[in-house]
């Protein structure tokens, strides 16, 4: 191995990176955009605010109390619907996914129930809703809680079964804190895999690898320069993502030695997989398709965007077989929960996988001279 040769190849790769603006954009800016978009959406889920259309057919002081109670939850911005219109038609025409309808004679029933102890008195509040809407379930869930409290208050008895939240963490975490390590792992994976597959397939197709094989650069020198290049890219994109996360979302992530370790393992794993794919794919187009076939399941099933608990059990089992899962969870253990033992276990798992896949990749990747 000759470090000067490795250094010369690294410099060439970095110059190409700097001069290819599209590659630069997708390596650095794209993950930042993802952080900004998802971070803005999920920055503080407690402050989520829904629009709620309310049609008060009773129009009394008692029925108005419902609107006040709903507004007080902080979850809804109330939009009044004219009692004269048909609620179903209104929802359809205005693309509204839920209209809450307070019935006429609500106050009368309320008085009968509360003052005359009439057990047959009740009021039916209607949910006129669009079941195909994804957010309507959440709205109804909150409304059910509000009405359960109202009914419980009307019974005049204190709550029997009460609940209390005890977090296993000493700090309160936000979604963005969990999200950033996943995005870092995903961005490094994408750059390492696509970088290895695309660059090497293109160079092979153009005959540059064949030309290089007639010079003193060895296969090991070439792979090492590729790895170092991916480390540099990973360092640049990770630094950019963390800076944006701290500056825009004020995240509270711990940065210690685990971060570079997991980045290194991430790079080794996916450069290794990339070398195997480069051997399989003969042309740049098939190489890109093969890389996508690896990247997409990793991206969506390994917990980078969606928590594993939200997936069916068989998919959770599948996710635990994906290498990116261990990078995601390892980074979260280290950066979010400060859990060194979990980080150690996950680094050992992904480290073993990285070594295996990298050796396989070196064996599979063929320097032209050996054909």
């Amino acid at each position: 191995m000759n470090l000067r040769v490795v250094g010369a190849s690294l410099i060439v790769s970095l110059k190409i990176f700097y001069r290819e603006k599209t590659t630069m954009f997708f390596t650095t800016t794209f993950p930042i955009l993802l952080i900004l978009v998802f971070g803005t959406i999920f920055v503080d889920q407690d402050k989520v605010n829904f629009d709620l259309c309310l049609q008060d057919l009773d129009r009394t002081e008692t029925s108005a109390e419902i609107a006040k109670a709903l507004a007080l939850t902080g979850k809804f911005r109330i939009i009044e619907v004219d009692p004269a219109v048909d609620a179903v038609r209104y929802a359809g025409e205005n693309k509204v996914n839920l209209v809450l309808v307070i019935p006429k004679d609500y106050e009368k029933s309320y008085v009968r129930y509360l003052q005359f102890d009439d057990p047959t008195a009740f009021a039916t509040i209607e949910y006129v809703y669009d079941p195909s809407s994804s957010s309507v379930d959440k709205k109804i869930e909150i409304l059910e809680l509000v009405f359960a409290r109202l009914n419980q208050g009307l019974s005049g008895k204190p709550q029997f079964a009460r609940t209390e939240e005890i977090s296993i963490h000493t700090r309160k975490y936000r979604f963005i804190d969990f999200f950033i390590p996943g995005i870092i792992a995903m961005a490094v994976m994408t750059a390492s895999l696509f970088g290895t597959v695309n660059v090497n397939t293109e160079l092979r197709q153009k005959g540059i690898i064949r030309k290089l094989s007639t010079t003193p650069i060895t296969h090991t020198d070439w792979i090492l320069s590729n790895i170092l290049y991916q480390f540099v890219l990973a360092a640049i994109s990770t630094t950019a993502m963390l800076l944006v996360s701290y500056a825009v979302f004020d995240v509270t992530l711990l940065i210690n030695a685990w971060l570079p370790l997991f980045i290194v393992l991430d790079v080794f794993t996916f450069v290794g997989i990339g070398m195997i794919l480069t051997r399989v794919a003969k042309e740049a187009q098939s190489a890109a398709a093969a890389a996508n076939a690896v990247i997409f399941p990793m991206m969506f099933l390994s917990g980078s965007f969606v928590p594993l608990e939200m997936m069916p059990r068989y998919l959770q089992t599948f996710a635990r077989a994906l290498p990116l899962y261990y990078v995601n969870e390892g980074l979260r253990a280290a950066m979010v929960f400060h859990d060194n033992m979990t980080a150690l276990i996950y680094s050992a798992i992904i480290g073993t996988f990285a070594v295996m896949v990298f050796i396989l990749g070196i064996t599979a990747a063929r320097w032209e001279g050996s054909k």
């Binding site: 000759n2 000067r4 040769v5 010369a8 190849s9 410099i11 060439v12 110059k15 190409i16 001069r19 290819e20 153009k206 005959g207 540059i208 064949r210 030309k211 290089l212 094989s213 007639t214 010079t215 003193p216 650069i217 032209e368 001279g369 050996s370 054909k371």
Partner: protein, 316 residues
Amino acid sequence: MTTKVEHAIEVEHLTKRYGNLVAVSDISFNVMQGEVFAFLGPNGAGKTTTVEIADTISKPTSGKVRILGMDVTKGKRDIVPRIGVLPQGFSSFDRITVRETMQYYSRLFRRRNADIDGLLDLVNLNDKAKEQYMKLSGGLKQRLGIAIALVNDPEIVFLDEPTTGLDPRARREVWEVLLGLKKKGTTVFLTTHYIEEAELLADTVAIISKGKIIAMDSPVQLIERNADYLVLTMQSVDERAFEVLVKMGFDLDRNNRKNINVRVERAEDIRKILNSMKDAGASLPGIDVRRPSLEQVFLKLTGEALEDTYEGKGAE
């Protein structure tokens, strides 16, 4: 330490198979130090297969190839620093400039003091030193490829189809560079399917067809040994002259509306033809007698014409 050997390249009973396909079949030849050796043949003849074994890109199925006395299957590490290679369809990094590319390859060869300006001068690329590779024309790219092949001051230069795909002007520019190398005494192993290229540049031409060498000598000797006839060219002849020749039973090649090439076996046949023309009162403004060209020798030996000659229109 380098050792001086008489033969720069020695090839003995070389065979290369790809599955059932025999690309090169039991060929042997030597290339002397300082010689320009051309492998001439059509596409698929086995030229690139042979040169890629000789320049260590691939390995032989059987047989021996020695470069500067070293076996290519065992001595790649020692051979590579002493040779320069322009592979077929040479390409380089799109966004790297000419000078940066030269610097990169000189670093690969650990030649920090390589005379990059001198090499760029040699291939007439100094004014393009700051251009990125992707912005160069086909001819300039090939010239850069040749300059890269020379960056380590090699003892042997392998040039695989150096002018394929170039227009006539760019081809002539590359030939100028190669003539410069010849003048310097560099050993050059060249593959080509351009007869003019082989005739102009090579000291020795090996004609290869279907994986076998079918003739090998200097261009002059190849013609001498294989041309047992003369070609009489009659310029601007009229229809009457054409009829006379047909009546006499000669093998004719009418290469355009006015000129006729006549293959004649004996010198006295020429006199007979001219007398018959005179008797018939045919017009005969100009005649030319010469030995056949290397192209005609190639055609005779291989039974197939080369697809893309200098006059040919397209590049492959």
